[in-house]
């Protein structure tokens, strides 16, 4: 009996490990398990983030020095151009303020903004996905800083992604062009609604209904706020190519993301889940969104500049 077990130990171990992997694969799909990592996995994430930040220091220093040198080359002409742009923008700003004050809207907008202020947490990007098939990043803020799975992540350029898992001092963010990622979106010019879906490549797709669609190259794609994940009005990217799928009901267009992911260093975590994420990660009971601050967050983040500031 002992000899038999000894002979069969390798197949038994192999079978047990494959079963364990398969059970993780199937069991890990539930939303509640996705909230926080188990302590041992969280520990790995917590150790990895400072380690990766330390490893990245020499590279960042070299890249920073090089960028500073390149920046110096055209500094004079760029300064003049920016000063001219600033003067123009100040004029435009003045006209807009006057128009708002004269119509009595400014006070109401200020009041709304104060009421619906969205709390945001700055975070540094520690490392990129270690698997080339998936697209995610690790950030140096975790559940101890108030970050939860389902919180949207943005930067000054636009939408970065959504927090998928957290440990106490780190979090994993699924980027918008990952295959598992999708965001309800709208074309700014024509208000055509659709879904921005990741393809695993650097350019996600904007999928929309052909009959009602009006999409052109150069159109700006914004979050619609209706998917329950991202607040309304955040920039997702610009349309670079519109595919002609013939008589298909659904059409698609390639979108160049607003965020330059290759140089992503600082991000902001919006410390409020959208209603969809709240329902997904709650205890399983139906949660009536009601007139809660979450609704306020969606309405208040209507201005992209405001949410990203």
């Amino acid at each position: 009996m002992f000899g038999f077990l000894k002979r069969m130990s390798a197949p038994i171990v192999l079978g047990a490990l494959i079963l364990a992997a398969l059970s993780s694969l199937v069991g890990g799909r539930s939303a509640r398990d996705g909230e926080n990592l188990p302590w041992i996995q969280g520990l790995l994430l917590d150790v990895t983030v400072p380690f990766q930040k330390a490893l990245a220091v020499p590279g960042d220093l070299i890249a920073g020095a090089w960028d500073s040198y390149i920046d110096l080359v055209d500094l004079g002409s760029e300064n003049s151009r920016l000063q001219a742009e600033l003067t123009d923008l100040e004029q435009v700003n003045l006209h807009l303020r006057e128009a708002l004050v004269s119509s009595g809207h400014l006070d109401r907008i200020v009041e709304m903004r104060d009421k619906f202020e969205v709390p945001m947490l700055p975070a540094a990007v520690a490392g990129l996905d270690v698997s080339p098939f998936f697209r995610s990043i690790l950030i140096d803020r975790g559940s101890q800083h108030g970050v939860r799975a389902g919180h949207p992540v943005i930067n000054h350029e636009g939408v970065v992604g959504v927090v998928s898992r957290t440990s106490s001092h780190a979090a994993k963010v699924l980027l918008i062009f990952d295959r598992q990622s999708a965001a309800d979106a709208v074309i700014q010019r024509s208000r055509t609604r659709g879904t921005v879906r990741g393809r695993g490549t650097s350019q996600p797709n904007f999928e929309y209904e052909a009959r009602r669609g009006d999409v052109e190259v150069g159109d700006v794609v914004l979050t619609s706020g209706l998917g329950g994940v991202y607040p309304k009005g955040l920039k997702l990217g610009e349309v670079t190519e519109v595919a002609d799928l013939g008589g298909s009901l659904m059409q698609s267009a390639s979108v160049s993301p607003a965020v330059e992911f290759g140089r992503l260093e600082q991000v902001f975590v919006i410390l409020r889940r959208g209603t969809g994420m709240e329902l997904l990660y709650e205890t399983g009971e139906f949660v009536d969104p009601g007139p809660s601050p979450r609704q306020g967050a969606e309405a208040g983040a209507g201005q992209p500049g405001e949410a990203g500031s």
């Binding site: 171990v13 992997a21 990895t48 698997s131 080339p132 994993k172 598992q180």
Partner: protein, 179 residues
């Protein structure tokens, strides 16, 4: 036990390094160091059971550090380890070229398997020619990198006291063998 812990630590360090390298060499140009360490362990380590556990633990770590589905990379790392373990005893992988070709092929199959299994759980995953090309390119990058990783793992195994890599080649009895 010393070998086990040394290789586990080396594998984890390789994963952390890969996360930083990916910032400089974006996919598919960045070699998959985690996968390469697992394959190298399969090629260098003689004991099957500790190797299986190592492959599982490193694969699970990849699952934690990447956006992958939980358990997916652990499963594929165990299978990759087994492929490398048996290939080392059945194929002649002594030459660098054959080693590179073997690992490139295994890496390509690994990518396809990731795609196929992910498509069972995530809707709307398209198989595009662009992705197939990127996967092929990534496989060759892995193939080009593997001799260095194998060399490193061999040295670690030797350092930790379990150097049996020379005993993995097929031993053919011959009456002409000198005494």
């Amino acid at each position: 036990m010393k070998t086990f812990l040394t290789l586990l630590l080396a594998g984890l360090c390789a994963l952390m390094l890969e996360g930083v390298l990916a910032r400089v060499f974006s996919p598919p140009w960045c070699p998959d160091l985690g996968f390469l360490v697992v394959v190298s362990i399969g090629l260098c380590l003689r004991d099957l059971i500790p190797g299986l556990f190592l492959a599982y633990l490193l694969g699970s770590s990849v699952d934690v550090l990447s956006g992958s589905l939980a358990g997916l990379q652990a499963l594929l790392c165990v299978i990759s380890f087994l492929s490398a373990f048996f290939a080392a005893s059945q194929l002649n992988l002594k030459s660098t070229l054959s080693l590179m070709a073997f690992v490139a092929s295994l890496s390509f199959v690994y990518g396809i398997s990731l795609f196929v299994i992910s498509s069972l759980f995530v809707e709307n995953i398209d198989l595009s020619w662009r992705w197939v090309l990127e996967n092929s390119l990534h496989a060759w990058i892995n193939g080009l990198t593997v001799p260095f990783v194998v060399e490193g793992v061999e040295r670690l195994v030797a350092w930790s006291g379990d150097d049996d890599s020379q005993e993995r080649s097929l031993y053919i009895e011959s009456p002409m063998r000198p005494l």
